[in-house]
Symmetry: C2
C-alpha cells in the first residue's frame, strides 16, 4: 500500500479485499466469481485483479475496475488498439465530493491507453469534466449503454 | 394506447415519447440518437422502438427496453437462439412499490423468448422473485455486468 494518503493503488484480490467490496453498491456475480476463484486456487493476493482503489488507513473507500480489451475486439478507436473499459467507479458515501473519483479517473488516464466507460445515471457532466467525450451511439454495439471515451493524443474515434 | 389502467404498451418513438424519457434517470446517448433519427427521417411514430412502458393517463411512468439479440450472437442460451436483452427498467419515484416493475417484466416473459438482464445496484432479490437466475460469471463475456437470465421451458444455459 502506498504511504501517501488517498492515493490510488492496485487492489490485491484476497479475502480482505473481497470483504471490503461488500460495502459498495455494485456488488454481485463478478465479486462472487473472484471469491470462488480464490477459494479454488487457495492463492492469496491473486494477480489477475482488474481493480484499483483508494484506502483511508485500512478501509477501502473507493474503487474502480480497468479491464483491458484487446485490439482485435476494439470497436471504438482508430487505429484499433488495446484499451481499457472502466467500470464500477464508486466512492463510499462519506468520502464523496473530495475529488477521489477524479483521482481514480486520472490514474486510469495516466496509463495512456484509450478508455471507454458507460456514463450511467446522468453522470455525463463528470465525464466531460474529466476530458471524456460521448461517442456516436450505435445500437448494435452499444446496446443501451451511454458510452463516453477518453482519447490519448493522436487517437481518434472509429467512423 | 391500451384502455386498461397501468397496462404495458409498446412505445411509439415520437417527440412526446422522447420528451417523456427525460423524466427517467437513465437518459443519455441512446435517447439523443433516437431524437436525431427522428429529426433526420421526419417520421412520426417510428417503428424501430425497443421501448415499452406504462402510462398514467398521458404520463409515461415506467419504461423498459427489450432489445432482440440474434441467435448467432447468443452466448448465454442452449440451444443458441434469439433472445431479449432487457435494460433501462425504471419506474418513476411516485409510482414505485405498486407492482409496475413486475408487470413490465411479466410482459417481457410473455413474449416467450429467453431474457438476459444486468441486475444492477443490488437488485438481485427482485430478479430472483421474477423467476430469473444468475449466470456463471464469465469475465470476457460479462465485463463487469451482473447477468441474470430468464429461461422459458426447455431452454438451458450454455456450459
Amino acid at each position: 500500500m502506498n504511504n501517501e494518503p488517498f492515493s490510488v493503488v492496485p487492489l490485491k484480490i484476497n479475502y480482505k479485499t473481497l470483504e471490503d467490496f461488500k460495502q459498495f453498491r455494485e456488488y454481485g456475480l463478478e465479486e462472487l466469481y473472484m471469491l470462488e476463484d480464490l477459494e479454488e486456487n487457495l492463492i492469496e493476493n491473486h494477480l489477475r485483479s482488474p481493480f484499483f482503489g483508494i484506502y483511508d488507513g485500512d478501509r477501502l473507500v473507493a474503487r474502480m475496475s480497468l479491464y483491458e480489451i484487446e485490439a482485435p475486439y476494439d470497436r471504438f478507436f482508430q487505429p484499433p488498439q488495446n484499451y481499457y473499459e472502466l467500470w464500477k467507479l464508486e466512492v463510499l458515501p462519506d468520502y464523496r465530493n473530495k475529488g477521489l473519483g477524479s483521482k481514480m479517473v486520472q490514474y486510469a488516464k495516466n496509463l495512456n491507453h484509450p478508455i471507454k466507460t458507460n456514463a450511467r445515471s446522468r453522470s455525463d457532466q463528470f465525464w466531460l469534466k474529466m476530458g471524456f467525450q460521448p461517442v456516436h451511439y450505435d445500437p448494435n454495439r452499444d446496446r443501451g449503454e451511454n458510452p463516453y471515451v477518453w482519447l490519448p493524443e493522436g487517437i481518434e474515434l472509429q467512423k
